[in-house]
Symmetry: C2
Subunit: 232 residues, 2 copies
Amino acid sequence: MRRNELAEIQALPLFSGLRDDSFESLLRGAYVQNFPPQIELIREGDPADFLHVVVEGTVELFASWNGRETTMATVRPIATFILAATIKDGPYLMSARTVEKARIILLPSIDVRNIFEADANFAKAIVLELSQCYRSVIKASKDMKLRNSVERLANYLLKKDIENGGNGQFDLSIEKRRLASYLGMTAENLSRAIKSLKDYGVEIEGSKVTIKSAETLGSLAKPTPLIDDPAY
Amino acid sequence: MRRNELAEIQALPLFSGLRDDSFESLLRGAYVQNFPPQIELIREGDPADFLHVVVEGTVELFASWNGRETTMATVRPIATFILAATIKDGPYLMSARTVEKARIILLPSIDVRNIFEADANFAKAIVLELSQCYRSVIKASKDMKLRNSVERLANYLLKKDIENGGNGQFDLSIEKRRLASYLGMTAENLSRAIKSLKDYGVEIEGSKVTIKSAETLGSLAKPTPLIDDPAY
DNA sequence: CTTGTGCCTTGATATTTATCAAGAGGCTAG
DNA sequence: CTAGCCTCTTGATAAATATCAAGGCACAAG
């Protein structure tokens, strides 16, 4: 593991409160791996042997049923997945694959659980992390049940715009078919949804997004922190 | 608070590991309230002042946006809601109302957070509870994104059948319009979905459900523990 | 008993979303 | 440079789902 990676991991809220000896013993069993694109890292249903930390590249979490597949989330550095399965010692509920080549740190689940038992600080940090994760999924669920596909896209774009400085210009940084799946629609439907947002001042050329007026788009999107603010 | 209620609460996995002094100080600020049906208990966006414990009756969690509303969950005794907001000291992401008259214990969030800080056992129990909640919502999200409305209904019925002993006979125990909302469809659509399940041996008269052959229904529903097993 | 009231169902129709098929454009290996 | 591959788009059509309107049924209040 590289030194700066070590520092970055330790800086994560999840790990920053750990006792020194806890962090050390967590790292003792850890190892780093580099993966090419399109590699399946974990498969839903498998036992959660490792807590994964993405330190470079992009990982997609997805789920399958009856021949269908849907993107659940995209994980970018520095972030972990999937904590809940590790803690519960349960099977993964989602599969994961690399999108771009990725560098990932693997922390044996058994170590994570042991330190969770032994270090109250870690337990507290996990509580906060899980609360955050839980609330994110609730928000995603509300998004899916309360909005149609154009509204979901509109709110997605507004959120990404804010993430990128809010100047109305940013890069999509995700393939459209993956975005479509994430937003719960087909690629064809996303194409048409994008076209229909032209009336609201949205221009998407390739991966370059331009929002002429966040206010105009907002009149359609009607964003609310109770669905769209990741920090809420 | 009644004595048997006290015992039931203490028996919850969330509270059973607490130190005696922690449990005592948690109860010190607690109070019980009885609510008539159709009372709004909490409103999404409000600060999470209390952790709620349902000891009697039924509570519906729901969310609203832009004049639309959707049922997120139904809470029955003995169970808590909403833990994550309490811990994070964040706003509620869902509203709650009584369906039948309900008896609810209110634990001030500040006390919950204080004890969470002071009692490592409580922190651990919260981690397990939140993991469970998180995974439940992930499963609900997969259900919603991967299945159409008839498939969701079919799997819902199979799950409820198992909950009720798996003999193919049980009571719906939820109004159909509420069930429709929970399953992410309109009441009209649910009516038609029920009719279409007749071909698979499902009879619903009023609230009485009969599944002639779980296997036949399963051939449509294709249940998987990775979506449909609450314990997974 | 009867008269609401609320829930559920049904039919007709509209809207949303998916599917299928084809073609445009860009990227890359050879 | 070019062939092949992949993604994205577009059009046509089908399927799924929602909306609107009306009526039936059960239950509760008077």
